[in-house]
């Protein structure tokens, strides 16, 4: 990275550290931070969409749809979420491959599940066996995103379901009195008003989502936890130009600080958004703001 890094063996102190922290592998670790941020930025809207669908389904008039919505919300209760993460990654992968298998190889005779093996025809493999490495990594990442979206979608559905019920009844009754259909009431009255009630729950969820990102490691994505373990381990001089003892403790301390800062920054930003949204609202928060200003 720096010009003085050409011969690491001669370096001392600060210079050694500067060179060590800018090696190619460390650059991959910094990119992994980008992976985490990317995951957050894709997952948050997707989970919100899942949550919205789940919450709308849960208050639907059609009974089967309502059951699906309620089950989706209820299933996250009582079970450790990490089990979901481990479950969904395999389950989704197999589901995709099975569908492709059905479509691409219709005349395949043998069963897909043979004892302990899950066998689909070569054309249905996901990603294809001859695909380049980056396709495999992207596919793994997309599976992780989908898993996160499903699990957090259930949390979000619960929050939004509560928020929809918190919208004052009078508002909906007024809409009905004006002759709006159920669909119109939902889109024009309920949805615009529910966000104030949903925001505290959603911001809490965002914090939780941040804290769940290290679980990416369990899904087989090369994230910061992976690199912290990889780079922190003791290194012998014959394998690397930067030998050092076991430093995993310091790498994880850095991760800990990273997450603490991230949480703190989110907290400050979300408080600001909340203050903006409550401004002028007929809620106790808005009332408190008005009194404080007066």
């Amino acid at each position: 990275m720096f010009s003085f890094c050409s011969d690491p063996a001669t370096l001392e102190g600060f210079q050694w550290m500067a060179c060590y922290l800018t090696t190619g592998k460390h650059m991959s670790m910094y990119w992994a931070v980008g992976t985490v941020l990317l995951l957050l930025s894709i997952t948050a809207p997707t989970a919100l969409a899942f949550g919205f669908a789940g919450a709308s389904a849960a208050r639907s008039n059609v009974a089967p749809l309502r059951w699906i919505g309620k089950t989706y919300i209820a299933v996250v209760r009582g079970i450790p979420d990490i089990a979901f993460f481990l479950f969904f990654v395999i389950a989704l992968d197999q589901a995709f491959e099975y569908i492709r298998h059905r479509v691409k190889c219709p005349d395949w005779q043998e069963p897909v599940r043979q004892g302990n093996d899950f066998i689909v025809c070569t054309a249905a493999k996901l990603p294809l066996g001859n695909a380049p490495q980056w396709v495999h990594e992207t596919y793994g990442f997309m599976l992780a995103v989908l898993t996160f979206a499903i699990v957090f979608g259930a949390f979000a559905a619960n929050v939004l379901f509560g928020a929809m019920r918190a919208v004052p009844k009078g508002q909906l009754e007024t809409a009905e009195a004006y002759g709006m259909s159920r669909r119109q009431t939902f889109w024009r009255v309920l949805v615009p008003q529910m966000w104030v009630y949903a925001l505290p729950g959603l911001s809490n969820l965002w914090m939780v989502l941040i804290k769940a990102t290290p679980l990416l490691f369990l899904l087989g994505v090369e994230d910061i936890v992976y690199w912290a373990r990889e780079l922190g381990g003791a290194k012998q001089p014959q394998f690397t130009e930067y030998p050092h003892p076991d430093w995993r403790m310091w790498y994880f301390a850095a991760l800990l600080v990273f997450y603490l800062c991230f949480t703190k920054v989110s907290e400050v930003v979300l408080d600001k958004i909340m203050a903006k949204l409550t401004h002028g609202q007929a809620t106790s928060g808005g009332e408190a703001q008005r009194k404080a200003a007066a």
């Binding site: 919300i73 996250v76 209760r77 009582g78 079970i79 450790p80 979420d81 990490i82 089990a83 481990l86 479950f87 395999i90 389950a91 197999q94 599940r113 302990n116 093996d117 899950f118 259930a154 949390f155 619960n158 809490n204 969820l205 939780v208 804290k211 769940a212 990102t213 290290p214 679980l215 490691f217 369990l218 936890v225 912290a228 373990r229 922190g232 076991d246 995993r248 403790m249 994880f252 301390a253 991760l255 800990l256 997450y259 603490l260 949480t263 703190k264």
Partner: protein
């Protein structure tokens, strides 16, 4: 091999008692039920010990955070912020590697690198921080009349805390504390997926569930079994805490008693 033999072989496998080798081929439902159930021993152990010990530290932390003296308040605030603001998963990893380097200092620290003590310490501190925040919130909402009544009776210091503040705090915090207890039991599943090694494959329920899912490529059997066990555990926790809740509120009329409401659980 009949199911009874399997149970005899594997029921205490997670404690290292019974058959050493885990099943490798021809997995039966009975094996999966028995081994995953055997792993639950660890989850229950971690959960109960961490809850019982964390309770006392949590009370101290809550009192510290509510104290006027910054000498008590600041450390308590930082303690809560660090443990609630960072992922438990990272805390496990960090703690494990700290314990590893402590091991080089003295053999006294050796047990800390094994899960039964090391992970327990992390869970203890973690639940103390979460519970401390709950108790602090409850302390803040103790009705003014209660403390004024205590003052009027001439109570002060320890007896005021013991007879008025503490019971009221518990009563107010109990529904939220129930949820915390449930989360804690769920959080115990992370132990063997972080740094802590499962020596001789003595793992918790999720460890065995994951083992079966990896071996059979079929996640649809072991994970639902695990889920079933955890739902039962959650129901037991709710039952016990509901009983305590009734006892804490036994002097109140039926309709003002606070009901325990189970909220969807959330990752830490």
């Amino acid at each position: 091999m009949s199911c009874w033999e399997t149970i005899a072989d594997y029921a205490l496998r997670s404690q290292g008692i019974g058959e050493r080798l885990l099943p490798r081929t021809d997995f039966t439902l009975c094996q999966q039920f028995t081994l995953i159930g055997s792993g639950m021993i660890w989850n229950v152990y971690f959960g109960i010990v961490a809850l019982c010990s964390g309770f006392f530290l949590a009370t101290a932390v809550a009192m510290g955070k509510a104290a006027r003296n910054p000498l008590y308040r600041k450390p308590a605030e930082w303690f809560i912020f660090i443990f609630r603001g960072s992922p438990l998963f990272i805390q496990f990893f960090f703690a494990y590697f700290v314990f590893l380097s402590l091991k080089d200092v003295s053999t006294f620290f050796n047990p800390l690198t094994s899960a039964w003590l090391g992970a327990l310490v992390v869970l203890f501190l973690n639940t103390a921080a979460y519970t401390g925040e709950i108790f602090y919130g409850a302390l803040q909402s103790i009705p003014k009349g209660d403390t004024e009544a205590a003052d009027a009776y001439g109570l002060s210091g320890w007896s005021r805390f013991r007879r008025v503040i503490w019971p009221t705090m518990l009563r107010l915090a109990w529904p939220a504390y129930t949820n915390e207890a449930i989360f804690l039991f769920h959080a115990t599943t992370l132990v063997f997926f972080s740094g802590f090694p499962a020596t001789q494959q003595r793992g918790d329920a999720l460890y065995y569930a994951n083992y079966f899912a990896d071996k059979t490529f079929n996640p649809f059997v072991p994970y639902p079994i695990l889920a079933g066990y955890f739902i039962i555990l959650t129901l037991i926790v709710i039952g016990i805490f509901g009983f305590v809740n009734n006892r804490l509120n036994r002097h109140l009329p039926q309709d003002v008693r606070k009901k325990i409401k189970v909220r969807p659980q959330i990752i830490r």
